[in-house]
Symmetry: C2
Subunit: 141 residues, 2 copies
């Protein structure tokens, strides 16, 4: 199994980058990407080879641009990005990139473990995935 089942169950595939699987967290409260480095045994950042660590931070910045594009498409532009690698519950190394707003459901605290995830309704899911893929391809040029 390349991606931990808990990550698969809570997110939608968006695409593949040189280092990471890119996934949309299925929680319409926040525009939220999850990056999963294609090193399934890695648990901490230190478990990645040094070149891959630099690639990871580059992909985190790209993910931020996508999170912003999703926020705009859903008419809730992000005002701040939150980036976190926790892994207390799901041991496989993964990085969260989340768009935050002062009027969101957890501001100013972190989002993890707060309230109940609200899965995307199908129209919003299509909008979010479409915005992400458009930002993807413009970033790849």
């Amino acid at each position: 199994m390349d991606i931990h089942p808990a990550i698969l169950a809570s997110s939608h595939a968006l695409g593949e980058w040189p280092l990471c699987h890119v996934r949309l967290q299925d929680d319409a409260r926040f525009p939220w990407l999850v990056l999963v480095p294609r090193w399934p045994d890695a648990r901490e950042l230190e478990d990645l080879p040094e070149a891959e660590r630099a690639r990871l931070v580059s992909e985190i910045v790209q993910a931020g641009a996508i999170v912003r594009a999703i926020g705009v498409a859903l008419r809730r532009p992000a005002e701040k990005l939150n980036v976190g690698a926790l892994g207390n519950i799901t041991p496989q190394l993964h990085v969260h990139v989340i768009g935050r707003r002062t009027d969101d459901a957890a501001w100013p605290g972190p989002v993890w473990g707060v309230g109940t995830p609200e899965p995307y309704q199908s129209g919003h899911l299509t909008t979010a995935i479409g915005a992400a893929r458009a930002a993807f391809s413009s970033g790849a040029e």
Copy 2:
């Protein structure tokens, strides 16, 4: 002002790395470092030039080793590292590197905003700073 007053007030200086001010969060519940890139106008990772982003992830990994050394010195070795760049409250870009244990005050949730910080008592502060500085110098070789 190079470091935001809120960061200064909640942490102790440990040293200087090529990119970051390195500080010990004054909360004895968790071995916890705060890295503050010496780019006082940066708010998001994307605000750092690309070369500095790679340096940041390298310094995050070094900070993880120091967090582990502090945990050992205080006889509460870290079992997992948590890394986060949030900045919802303090706008200056800063990165938290925190050692977690399954018996700590916030497990398995994130630490931010949970409970009340417990400033180090002087003996433990000396131990923590000593362990950090020893790990610092061994890492610099």
